[in-house]
């Protein structure tokens, strides 16, 4: 059994009950009021048969765990208008997807979001865009992710857009 070190700081003003209450209120707002849903496609790193030399796989050869729906605060950056070749062969694609998700929700779902996993976000009824995790936000030691200096309570996941040829959500 893992050793657990109780957090007693701020004990005169803030306790685990207060922390849980704040998180529940936030979750109620996020999951009940906002109801912003995303789908996580976790890569099964054991079953995916990778290339011996380059650690690459072909199209549609990545194996996934069953997709899981989760909630988070979604922020999508402005589209990127760029070119592949010094002003030629232009492409316009969505900016990065930044998702803030409660650590408690991930614990409840027994879920971990890892670098390289895929996330789908339904932009409209007919269009779901897919992103790959470029920063899984596992390090939550900073003040921003910390509730009043008591404990971290959410993770910020940053994802980059992937083309349909790379991932189609199937």
């Amino acid at each position: 059994m893992d050793n657990k070190l109780p957090i007693t700081r701020l004990g005169k003003f803030f306790s685990q009950d207060d922390f849980d209450l704040q998180v529940r209120i936030g979750q109620e707002y996020l999951q009940g009021d906002l109801n912003m849903k995303l789908v996580l496609y976790r890569v099964d790193r054991q079953k995916t048969d990778i290339d011996d030399v380059y650690l690459e796989v072909g199209t549609d050869q990545i194996k996934y765990f069953p997709p899981v729906e989760f909630s988070g605060i979604v922020k999508i950056e402005a589209p990127k208008n760029e070119t592949y070749k010094e002003g030629l062969i232009r492409y316009l694609e969505p900016g990065n997807l930044v998702v803030s998700v409660y650590i408690k929700q991930l614990d409840e779902l027994k879920l971990d979001i890892r670098y390289g996993d895929y996330i789908g976000y339904p932009e409209s009824e007919t269009k779901t865009r897919f992103y790959t995790v470029v920063n899984d936000g596992k390090i939550v030691s900073d003040n921003k992710h910390n509730m009043f200096g008591y404990k971290p309570y959410y993770r910020t996941i940053e994802c980059s857009y992937v083309q349909d040829v790379s991932f189609r959500g199937v």
Partner: protein, 411 residues
């Protein structure tokens, strides 16, 4: 120890063999041929390079060929999607992987070996003499073309992909194709060498928070040359005509006598609308006809000629683009003799039709007709006119009043 595996059939020859190969070569040599080389300009070279990449750089990734954008990428924004729609996603973005071809806008004076000897000022040089036969007259045309201008055109072939193995496949094909330092592409029948200048990598793989892909660019140089068929010149050389006439002898038996074996030269000019003087660059012994766009011109009215000189001077410059044709016998043949040693004369006479029977009496007994025209339009014997006797010519149809009748004949 097992038996070593052997391939039972090897495809050594990728092309046709035997007779079919010879026919293929013959077709290559003769198709679209006029004995002159085909024109080759910038867009021909660009099209040739696109074909070169398309045919020689087939890269397969995950069982599918990596698409090649079969156009030179330019700065016109609207054009990109129109060329790439077949492998673009719903947002109009090209799906990775793909291969694109970019031409450097600047084209420099080339280093092709044809640069070794220079004909200055784009002067035309002799290319070939080709026999001609129009069913009546045997002759020859002289073909002259300008020296091709060497050009170096630089292209960049860029592969955008997400797999290292695709980069390897592209690299393998490039190095194999250029293992002999240079490769060739046939552009309009010309063998154009292609060199590899180098390869660069601009893959944005150091940006961890953006979409990542590989971008590798192979830089090629095509050592081409420009040859514009608009500047080719085909001019008639010597035309040889045999003139015959029939005379009844005393026994009322017809005999055919050869009048002369004449070397008739025809020179053609294209008018610029300004020049009134046209020089055939050799002394004209006997001037037969001068025509503008096929219309026979009248001497001393429409043009002037000093006997023995090489120049025709028009009173007014022919219209721009008009074809001026001068037919003459060279100076060496100033005096024409028949096979019996009799001197022959070339006569030119002009009449104005004033009405009545269109019969014209010429001054000297005709031995052979060279030209008969009505207002410059040449008539054909026995179709438009006939010889009534040695001094009278009759037109079948009456021309309009005041028509100018020109007769050039040998007496």
């Amino acid at each position: 120890m097992g038996i070593a595996k052997r391939k039972k059939s090897l495809s050594i020859y990728n092309t046709n063999k035997g007779m079919s190969r010879r026919e293929e070569l013959l077709k290559q040599l003769t198709q679209n041929q006029t004995k002159l080389p085909q024109s080759i300009l910038h867009d021909d070279l660009d099209r040739g390079f696109l074909d070169y990449v398309k045919s020689r750089y087939t890269i397969v990734s995950d069982g599918l060929q990596i698409p090649i954008i079969e156009r030179i990428m330019t700065i016109q924004r609207w054009g990109e999607f129109t060329q790439n729609w077949s492998f673009s996603d719903d947002d109009g973005n090209i799906e990775v992987p793909f291969i694109a071809i970019i031409r450097n806008p600047e084209v420099t004076y080339g280093t092709h070996p044809s640069n070794a000897f220079n004909v200055p000022q784009q002067a035309l040089w002799y290319y070939a003499t080709v026999q001609t036969w129009n069913g009546t007259t045997a002759g020859a045309d002289v073909y002259r073309i300008p020296q091709p201008v060497p050009v170096d055109i630089k292209y960049e072939v860029t592969i955008v992909c997400t797999k290292f193995r695709d980069l390897n496949a592209m690299n393998k094909v490039v190095l194999e194709n250029l293992s002999s330092m240079q490769d060739y592409q046939i552009v309009n029948g010309h063998y154009i060498p292609v060199f590899l200048e180098g390869v660069t990598d601009t893959s944005p793989i150091n940006t961890v928070e953006n979409r990542r892909f590989y971008v590798q660019t192979y830089k090629f140089t095509m050592n081409g040359y420009i040859l514009d068929s608009e500047k080719f010149e085909v001019s008639p050389a010597v035309n040889r005509a045999l003139l015959f006439f029939e005379t009844p002898n005393e026994g009322s038996k017809k005999e055919i006598n050869q009048v002369a074996n004449l070397d008739i030269t025809t020179v053609t000019f294209s008018s610029d609308g300004v020049d009134t003087v046209y020089n055939v660059n050799e002394n004209i012994g006997i001037l037969i006809t001068v025509k503008i766009n096929g219309l026979t011109q009248e001497q001393n009215t429409d043009y002037f000629f000093i006997g023995g000189s090489s120049r025709i001077t028009f009173s007014d410059a022919p219209l721009n683009g008009s074809v001026v044709t001068v037919t003459y016998i060279k100076n060496a043949n100033t005096t024409l003799m028949d096979p019996f040693g009799n001197v022959l004369l070339v006569n030119k006479e002009y009449f104005t039709y004033t009405g009545g029977t269109p019969t014209f009496e010429i001054s000297n007994p005709i031995k052979a007709m060279l030209s008969f025209d009505v207002n410059g339009l040449e008539e054909t014997e026995n179709l438009g006119y006939q010889l009534l006797d040695a001094t009278h010519i009759n037109l079948f149809d009456e021309p309009i009043i005041n028509s100018k009748i020109g007769v050039i004949y040998i007496s």
